[in-house]
Symmetry: C2
Subunit: 357 residues, 2 copies
């Protein structure tokens, strides 16, 4: 049966990089019997300019109807000064929340061909392969009450609520334990249980679940220590699991350790493996429209989509191998350019991947 994929290019470099991923998917439709139909729609600032909201209800409905969503990136200077309730990112948060995409998988992998791109010493990052499992539909991102109020003394006070219920922690914990089972069977749960009650409960629940996965070696780490350990000795980690806010911070830190955030994909999944896929990097408005961006993170996100939501692990592997070949050929976009390599444009990179499939 034909699967439906909604393409949301978004803002900045979003349209350029998703176009290359679509190119790759189209090639697989032609040559490998990939049975998908793709439709495009607006999100973020691009949607705001047309609809006055960063995500129109019709688009939300299409996302619900789709089997998977491939998103480029959202946001840009142009919409920075708008009131928070209409900020482009709210479109992203609405998609995550309404699609119940509670499990955000963010790999931080060092590509052997790009080892020198890291700001860390080669011996510290060689072979780095971390999977961060971030809870994506709860925590302080969505907690109520929230807002800015005026106190009796006339001054303003801003407030947000960091909240998790047991069942929210349980379901993300199971995703993380299962991921660890498929990898090196090590799980680090990150919290701030020495200060925050919500994460004290988080820690207790991880400990309750752990006996169900006796092969997985579990440890707990405070978030401040985790931020340090990622710099000191990142290879100690296999899978890390944490809440929405800490996951936002640590996954960005971890991805930057690889030196090539333009290469990192992400998946956001619901309980039935329906998902949204996006590169880990942002919309890079400074280079938008210049055909300079690196499309590989988006193409790798399409590979994750084939793996998790479209039941085509074979084609996911095929894309990943094609990207490895292209890197072996020495082709590089500007962000990962290195001595002795050949610099290519965004679309040339996409073409090269298609050719290598």
């Amino acid at each position: 049966m034909t699967k439906n994929v909604l393409i949301l290019p978004g803002d900045g470099i979003g349209p350029e990089i998703t176009a290359e991923a679509v190119k790759v998917l189209n090639k697989l439709v032609e040559t490998d019997g990939l049975d998908i139909s793709m439709e495009e729609d607006l999100v973020g600032g691009a949607a705001y300019d047309v609809h006055g909201v960063p995500l129109a209800d019709e688009t939300m409905a299409k996302a619900h109807a789709a089997d998977a969503v491939l998103l480029g990136a959202v946001g840009g200077y142009k919409w920075e000064s708008l009131d928070i309730s209409v900020r482009p990112e709210k479109g992203l948060l609405r998609l995550r929340k309404e699609m119940e995409l509670f499990a955000n998988l963010r790999p931080a992998v060092l590509f052997p061909q790009l080892a020198s791109a890291s700001t860390l010493k080669p011996e510290v990052v060689a072979g780095l392969d971390i999977l961060i499992v971030r809870e994506l539909t709860g925590g302080i991102y969505f907690g109520q009450p929230r807002g800015i109020r005026t106190l009796d003394n006339g001054e303003r006070q801003g407030y947000n609520t960091y909240v998790y219920s047991e069942s929210e922690v349980r379901r993300i914990a199971h995703v993380a334990f299962q991921a660890a089972m498929k990898r090196n069977k090590k799980l680090t749960s990150v919290d701030k249980a020495n200060v925050l009650e919500v994460t004290e409960m988080w820690r207790e629940i991880i400990d309750e679940i752990a006996p169900e996965y006796p092969e997985v070696q579990v440890n707990h780490m405070y978030v401040d220590n985790a931020a340090m350990q990622l710099v000191l000795n990142p290879k100690q980690f296999d899978v890390m699991v944490t809440g929405n806010m800490f996951g936002d911070i640590l996954s960005d830190e971890a991805s930057m350790l690889t030196g090539s955030i333009g290469m990192l994909a992400s998946a956001s999944l619901d309980a039935n493996n329906k998902g949204m896929y996006e590169p880990s990097h942002g919309s890079a408005p400074d280079i938008a429209g210049q055909n300079k961006a690196n499309p590989l993170a988006t193409i790798l996100s399409a590979a994750m989509m084939l793996r998790y939501s479209l039941g085509r692990e074979d084609l996911a592997v095929k894309i990943e191998e094609a990207i490895s070949k292209v890197l072996d050929q020495g082709l590089r976009t500007g962000d990962i350019m290195d001595a002795g390599c050949t610099q290519v444009t965004c679309s040339e990179m996409g073409d090269a991947v298609v050719a290598a499939l």
Copy 2:
């Protein structure tokens, strides 16, 4: 007039490292007319074992009466499993809150003699000198309501409140702007204004205050991006200002960039420059009692104490120069040991600093 210093060695390596700082202070009393009287008391697990609480009321009273507090470190395996309300760290949080130490200054400095200790490439961190100004008595650390409740459906829910009032943001902002004025006049304010209303207000207040310091170049950065930029290009930063939780994470990350967290001091100040001083590292229970710990962060914390709370900038500089001499002599504790250097114990390092004064 004689100034009173309360020494709180705490747990783990705390007693060893504070003993060396006291040695240095005693030497300055003898030779440089430093007019202080020192008294010791218990904090953390050490206090819990004696009083059943991590900070006795008598100790709190002594801290209030003192001109400055020098603290070693708190916590350890032994007290990990205790209920959060009696965890050793609560002693620390009570000290910070009741003494109104809202301004936490955490330098992340690369000592030229220790350049190779960093896991980052030398060119990325050479000359690194960041000051993180962290709000220390508000935010989610102290926000109410907080706790773990049982919902109607029987499941538990943990919750904490991230809250700042305008005046809390203002006072820490002024500390940060003033620090920037004394340094390279660059201030980066870190928030998550695209998601959290409390930090949206934070950002607005920074912008309101900025015109009072026209020479300071201000920028805003989301916390996830800040965590990345610290890895990618840490030398872009001069002073960073942020709330309690983000400051906890980013200051640890930044300090680890230097590769020698055993060298980093911190000051926590109230509105009148009364303060508490502590090394940035923890209580390291694994090496406690072995005379192996690095006392330099604590000795440097004593230097900060002389500078900010005891009005003896001259002696602060004297200590810092002595430490630089000792490093030039090639003396190193195990944590910063390097080829061609001489490994010394904790107390030998303290003696060497005293000799170099």
